[in-house]
Symmetry: C2
Subunit: 213 residues, 2 copies
């Protein structure tokens, strides 16, 4: 039960690995061409050390990600108004989305690496749950907005790392313009519209377009 404090060299190595991995991921073109062996070599440790400290590749990336995320999380929990808990829901939703987008832009390599970890979906990670829950709660508090849960997922989907990377890289969309677009999109989504025919639009044509089956 008692938390055993880590040995000094272990801590040092852990830090070295994190630092090395960080620069490698940031430097490289594609996350896949950073191998575990590369990281170990760059950090000046053996592969075993690396796996002992982080379990597996996903564990390492996740640790890096969470570390980078720390300041953002703090801002969310106790920061000043647009981001912090004091802000009114709608405004805060926009601020949070913007923060997420900026984070993904600043850390695209990491986010990319994390989101395309084949084995497990990016939706069962701690930070996604946190973001989603926060957004959902805020959305539920906006009057006239049904269905905060799905809306939160959908809005977050617009900040997916590969989309963001694609828009920023391939299409050369400047950072601030992208932020403006996302904000505009979210604003439109959240403006409590009378919803002309929410389900009539879909239930009306419901024969299920799957011609395939």
């Amino acid at each position: 039960m008692a938390e055993r404090s880590p040995r000094k060299d272990a801590a040092r190595n852990r830090a070295a690995v994190l630092a090395a991995a960080d620069t490698l991921f940031t430097t490289c073109e594609h996350p896949d061409d950073v191998t575990m062996a590369d990281i170990a070599a760059a950090a000046g440790v053996g592969k075993g050390t690396l796996f002992r400290a982080f379990g597996d590749r996903t564990g390492l990336i996740r640790a890096l990600y969470e570390a980078r995320l720390e300041p953002v999380r703090r801002s969310l929990e106790e920061g000043p108004s647009p981001l912090g808990p004091a802000a009114q829901p709608l405004r805060r939703v926009l601020a949070v989305l913007d923060a997420v987008l900026c984070f993904k832009l600043d850390n695209r390599h990491l986010a990319l690496a994390l989101e395309q970890t084949g084995s497990d979906s990016p939706y069962r990670t701690e930070h996604y749950e946190r973001w989603h829950a926060l957004l959902r709660d805020l959305l539920d508090r906006i009057p006239g907005l049904p269905d905060g849960d799905f809306t939160a997922h959908a809005l977050l989907a617009a900040t997916r790392a590969d989309l963001v990377t694609y828009l920023a890289g391939e299409k050369g969309l400047p950072r601030d313009e992208m932020r403006a677009r996302l904000a505009e999109f979210a604003t439109r989504t959240l403006s409590a519209a009378p919803a002309p025919s929410p389900e009539a639009a879909i239930e009306g044509i419901t024969p299920d377009p799957s011609g395939t089956r």
Copy 2:
């Protein structure tokens, strides 16, 4: 220059591989535990044949995906009104989104496999370009809607295979409910709102939340 027609056995093998791969992907839990060797074995051919016919893993999956997509594409191009070109833009956008969602639900394993092909982003594929272009054009035709390009991306992002799989699987969200939620979300997004303060919301707080840098 003249297109050389394929040999009979080659065609037969190609079909066998596609069929085998299809059932394997549909059956399995996670795309990654279907290996190329598995597919070759199930199809009763050698691995070489398989790579000769499709180039690489991504090529195979893409071929499968496109094949499944054919009926949908046809419906879009020449189908009856809600989906076909005759429908009015807003209605058609909703129909297209619904069709995409249904397709992804019906073919989640394939879509999952394709979207998480590490090496290249899912955004440079032919079918994504097609969907995006179609939606963008429709959106641009809706009065009072700025920025069809980004909106199209954002709406499509809500149908990402892993999200859809997560909602349908982990959270047990029934198919029709999911369709309704998406339709409702899109409807809200597209209701030409006066946009209370589209850029004021973001430009007003613009100090860039990246405390990390």
